[in-house]
C-alpha cells in the first residue's frame, strides 16, 4: 500500500464534504487511515449526488413496477416495453450547479450525460426534452443564463443529432441564484438487447473507451451537492466542456459493438467518473475490480491517481468485454477515432484495487463503498397548510378580456418558440407533434406506433402544499400525454430541492415524494428512473421545490394523435371536468392580482383517471377534433392557445357563474377542452353523463377572435403578438 503522502487532517476531511462521523465510518470500515486517493473515492461515492443519502429512505416508497416495466430505477435509465419487441429507455437528470457557473458548458454536459445514460443501455436516442427554471426576468443575470443554457442545450443535441422535442421554461425570483437545467432523453432499443452495468466472470478485461481523461470537474459531484456560499464564483473547479462530436462517435461505436455481441457490461462515466463506474460494475456483479491507472488515456501530463479517479471528463465509457471479442471491438473503436484501452480486470475478491506507477493507491471493499454509504432519515417538518381562498373573496382588478391579454404575455405563459426554434426538433424525420402542443409525439421506427413525451411540474403548488403539488406534477404529465391520445406508461422524476439539512426543506421533499407516489399508484404510472438534486440554495434561500416529472406514453397509431389547434369553424367546444373556479396559487391571482397565496388546487386522482380515460376514448374513437388539457392560466388561456395555434376564433356563451374570473382563470385539475363536430355534440354530452364525467358546452369555433358574450372581442392576432412577443423582446434587451 502506498504510504500516505499527505496527512489526513480533519480540515482535509471537511474539504471533501465528509462529516466527522462519516469519516469515522470510513475508519471503522477499512480499519486504517485512508490514502488520499481513497479519501477522494469515498468523498465521491458518499456525497449526496451519488449516494442519495438524504433521499433514499423516501424514494423507496415510490411505485416502480408494472407489467410493462422491464427495468426500474437503479440502472443508467429506465426501460419499458412498448410492444413489437421494442423498448423505450429514458431518464431525466439535472445539471443545475454547473449551468449556473457556466451556462453554455453546464447545459451541454447535462445533455451529453443524459444521452450517454440512454445509449449505454443499448438504445439509440430518439428524442430529448429539457425543463428549465430561471430567476426573475428582471434579475441582472437571468438573460445571460437563458441565452447560455438554451444555446448549450441546442448546441449539444443539434450536433449529436437527436431532436429536442419538448420541455418547459419558467421564471421565478426563487431561482435567481440557482437556475435549474433538467435534461431528459428517450431512446429506442430491442427489448431483448438491453445492456446493464453488472459485470460477470472473473478475469474479464475492463476497457476504457471514448475521450481522454483531463482534470475537468474534479469534485464536480461533490460540488453538485454543496450549497453555494458567497464566494462560490471564485471557488469554481475546472469546468467540464462538452464535446458532442466525440459523443456522436461514441454512440455509433457503442451501438456497433453491441450489435456484434462483444459486451458483457457497460457503464458510462458520469458523476465521479472512473470511481463510480468501476465500483458499480463490480458491486452489481458481486466481483472485485483492479484498475491499472498507467493504462488510462490522459489528456494532461502528470495526473495523479487521485485526479484520475475523480475526473469528470465527458464522453467516456467503461465496458467489460468478452475476451475473445477484444480485437474486433478495438477495431470498431479505432475506426471511429476513439481511445480504447484495457485498464483493468474483474477479480473474485470483491476488492476495489487501484494501482498507479507500480503502487497500490487504493484497496477498498467494493460493495461496501455503495451499501455502507451513510443513509440519513433527516428530521423534517411538514409544510403547514395554507388557507383555501374563496373565489368570492378575490376582487377582479380588471375585466376578463384585459386579464387574458395581460396573462398571455407574461413570462410563464408566453410562447417559448424563441427557445425551441434553437433546437433541431425534426431531425430523424419522425417528429409528428413538434414543440408547442401538450406533448411531443415521435413516430417509432416506421410507425404506426408513436411515443408521446412531456415534462411537467408546478413549483408554486409544490411550495404551497408539497403533497398536492407532487400529485399535481404527475397528474399534469399524465394529462398532457392523454391530451394527445397516448396511453401514459411511466415517468422519470428529477427532484430539485434546497438544503435537506433544514427540516422545512426536507418536509417539502418528503411531501412531494409522497404525492408523486400516490399519483403514480392511482394512475398506474410507475417511476422507472430519476435523479435527485439537493442543496439548490444560495445564501440560505432555497429554490421553489421543483420535482420535474418526465412522462412517456404510447400511441398505437401516431397519425391519430390529437393536437390542440382548432380544426374548423362551426365545431362545438366542450369543457370536460367541472368548473368550480379555484383561484388559490393560480397565475391569475399571482400575475393579475399580485398575490402569491393560498392552497393550490387539490388533485382528485380518481377524477383525473376517469376524465382522462374518457377524453382518450374520444380521441381514439375519432370524435375529438382538437384537445387541450387545462393547466397554468386555466380555461380561457387554454382556449386562447387553441385559437392561436389555428387562427380560428371562438364564440363563447358559457354562463361563467358564479364568479366569472374564477370560471375563466381558475386552475382546477382533471380538465380538458375538446372540440367535436356540431352534429356529434349532443351524443358526446350524453356519453359523458353516462360515464359520470362532468361536461358542458362552452360555445363554438368561429371567426378570427375570441368573443365572450357581450365583452369586447379579442382578436387572435392581438393575442399572438403578445404571446409570441414577450420572450424575443425580453432577450433582445427590452424591459423585463
Amino acid at each position: 500500500m502506498n504510504p500516505n503522502e499527505t496527512k489526513i487532517t480533519p480540515k482535509l476531511v471537511a474539504e471533501h464534504g465528509l462529516k466527522p462521523d462519516e469519516y469515522q465510518r470510513i475508519l471503522d470500515l477499512i480499519g486504517r487511515e485512508p490514502t488520499m486517493t481513497e479519501l477522494g473515492i469515498f468523498s465521491a461515492m458518499w456525497n449526496e449526488h451519488c449516494s442519495y443519502k438524504s433521499s433514499r429512505v423516501h424514494l423507496k416508497g415510490l411505485p416502480t413496477s408494472a407489467p410493462w416495466v422491464i427495468q426500474g430505477p437503479g440502472e443508467n435509465a429506465g426501460v419499458i416495453d412498448i410492444g413489437d419487441g421494442l423498448a423505450a429507455v429514458f431518464k431525466m437528470e439535472s445539471h443545475n450547479h454547473p449551468s449556473y457557473i457556466e451556462p453554455y458548458q453546464g447545459a451541454t454536459t447535462g445533455v451529453g450525460g443524459i444521452l450517454r445514460d440512454v445509449f449505454t443501455m443499448g438504445a439509440r436516442p430518439i428524442a430529448c426534452l429539457n425543463a428549465l427554471s430561471f430567476g426573475d426576468p428582471s434579475h441582472p443575470k437571468t438573460r445571460h443564463l437563458v441565452s447560455g443554457v438554451v444555446a448549450g442545450v441546442g448546441g449539444y443535441g443539434n450536433s449529436f443529432g437527436v431532436p429536442t422535442v419538448g420541455g418547459e421554461v419558467r421564471f421565478h425570483t426563487r431561482y435567481d441564484g440557482n437556475n435549474l437545467v433538467n435534461a431528459m432523453a428517450v431512446g429506442l432499443a430491442e427489448a431483448d438487447k438491453i445492456f446493464y452495468a453488472a459485470a460477470s466472470g472473473v478475469g474479464m478485461p475492463i476497457v476504457y473507451l471514448g475521450s481522454k481523461t483531463g482534470r475537468d470537474g474534479i469534485h464536480g459531484a461533490s460540488m453538485a451537492s454543496a450549497e453555494f456560499g458567497e464566494g462560490a464564483e471564485e471557488k469554481r473547479p475546472t469546468v467540464q466542456v462538452g464535446d458532442p462530436f466525440s459523443e456522436k462517435l461514441l454512440l455509433e461505436a457503442c451501438l456497433e459493438i453491441m450489435a456484434k455481441d462483444c459486451v458483457i457490461a457497460i457503464q458510462d462515466m458520469g458523476a465521479a467518473g472512473l470511481t463510480s463506474s468501476a465500483t458499480e460494475m463490480g458491486a452489481k456483479g458481486n466481483l472485485g475490480v483492479t484498475l491499472d491507472l498507467d493504462k488510462v488515456p490522459c489528456r494532461e501530463e502528470g495526473m495523479s491517481a487521485y485526479e484520475m479517479m475523480l475526473s469528470e471528463s465527458q464522453e467516456r465509457m467503461l465496458m467489460v468485454l468478452k475476451p475473445e471479442k477484444e480485437k474486433e471491438a478495438e477495431a470498431i473503436f479505432r475506426k471511429w477515432g476513439l481511445d480504447f484501452a484495457v485498464v483493468g480486470e474483474t477479480t473474485a475478491s470483491t476488492r476495489f484495487i487501484v494501482k498507479h506507477r507500480g503502487e497500490v493507491m487504493a484497496d477498498l471493499p467494493i460493495k461496501e463503498l455503495g451499501t455502507e454509504a451513510p443513509v440519513y432519515n433527516r428530521p423534517f417538518t411538514e409544510t403547514p397548510k395554507l388557507p383555501v381562498i374563496k373565489a368570492t373573496d378575490v376582487k377582479a382588478p380588471m375585466g376578463i378580456v384585459a386579464a387574458l391579454e395581460h396573462l398571455i404575455g407574461t413570462p410563464d405563459l408566453a410562447s417559448k418558440r424563441w427557445v425551441w426554434e434553437q433546437y433541431d426538433h425534426i431531425i430523424g424525420g419522425n417528429t409528428f407533434q413538434r414543440p408547442g402542443g401538450d406533448a411531443a409525439v415521435v413516430r417509432v421506427l416506421d410507425g404506426p406506433k408513436g411515443l408521446a413525451m412531456t415534462s411537467d411540474v408546478t413549483p408554486r403548488y409544490c411550495e404551497a402544499d408539497p403533497f398536492e403539488g407532487g400529485k399535481q406534477a404527475v397528474a399534469e404529465a399524465w394529462r398532457n400525454l392523454t391530451a394527445v391520445g397516448a396511453r401514459p406508461l411511466a415517468i422519470t422524476d428529477n427532484l430539485n430541492f434546497g438544503n435537506p439539512e433544514k427540516p422545512e426543506i426536507m418536509g417539502q421533499f418528503v411531501g412531494c415524494v409522497r404525492g408523486i407516489g400516490e399519483a403514480c399508484k392511482a394512475l398506474d404510472f410507475p417511476v422507472v428512473s430519476g435523479n435527485v438534486s439537493l442543496y439548490n440554495e444560495t445564501q440560505g434561500r432555497g429554490i421553489l421545490p421543483t420535482p420535474t416529472i418526465g412522462g412517456v406514453g404510447l400511441l398505437d397509431d401516431f397519425t391519430k394523435s390529437a393536437t390542440l389547434a382548432f380544426k374548423a369553424e362551426g365545431e362545438t367546444i366542450l369543457l370536460i371536468g367541472g368548473a368550480p373556479g379555484w383561484l388559490g396559487q393560480s397565475l391569475y391571482l399571482r400575475d393579475v392580482c399580485g398575490r402569491e397565496e393560498g392552497a393550490p388546487p387539490p388533485v382528485d386522482l380518481a377524477a383525473e383517471r376517469k376524465h382522462g380515460d374518457f377524453v382518450r376514448g374520444l380521441i381514439t374513437g375519432g370524435q375529438a377534433t382538437a384537445v387541450h388539457d387545462l393547466s397554468d392560466g386555466g380555461l380561457l388561456v387554454a382556449l386562447a392557445e387553441m385559437a392561436m395555434a389555428s387562427g380560428i376564433g371562438a364564440e363563447l356563451e358559457a354562463a361563467a357563474d358564479p364568479v366569472p374570473h374564477a370560471f375563466w382563470f381558475g386552475e382546477d385539475q382533471a380538465r380538458y377542452v375538446v372540440t367535436v363536430k356540431a352534429a356529434d355534440a349532443a351524443a358526446m354530452l350524453e356519453k359523458a353523463a353516462k360515464a359520470g364525467v362532468p361536461a358542458q358546452r362552452l360555445g363554438r369555433t368561429a371567426g378570427h377572435a375570441l368573443i365572450l358574450g357581450s365583452e369586447r372581442p379579442i382578436l387572435i392576432s392581438t393575442l399572438v403578438s403578445r404571446f409570441e412577443g414577450w420572450l424575443p423582446g425580453y432577450m433582445a434587451g427590452s424591459a423585463a
Partner: protein, 80 residues
C-alpha cells in the same frame, strides 16, 4: 485607434475544436504538429486617442462579453 483582444482557453480546459483540427492536420500529412489549441481574436476600432481609456474600456469589454473568464484568458493590445 486600433486594438486587438486575443482570447485563449485556459490550460487544462478541454478544446474539442483543437483536438479535431490536430487530427485533420495529421491526416492531411502535415508533419510535426504536437498539439493545437484554438482561440479568438477581436480586432477593434476605437474612437478617440486616449490609450489608457481605451485599455480600460477593452478590459471591461473582455470581462463582460468577449471572454468567458470561467474558461478563457484574454490579452489586450492597443496599437494606438
Amino acid at each position: 485607434m486600433k486594438a486587438r483582444v486575443t482570447v485563449t482557453l485556459k490550460s487544462g480546459v478541454l478544446d474539442p475544436q483543437g483536438k479535431a483540427i490536430e487530427g485533420a492536420l495529421r491526416s492531411l500529412g502535415i508533419a510535426g504538429v504536437a498539439s493545437v489549441r484554438q482561440g479568438k481574436v477581436f480586432d477593434i476600432e476605437l474612437e478617440g486617442s486616449d490609450k489608457a481609456g481605451a485599455e480600460a474600456a477593452l478590459k471591461d469589454a473582455a470581462d463582460k462579453l468577449l471572454a468567458n473568464t470561467v474558461i478563457e484568458n484574454y490579452r489586450i493590445e492597443v496599437m494606438g
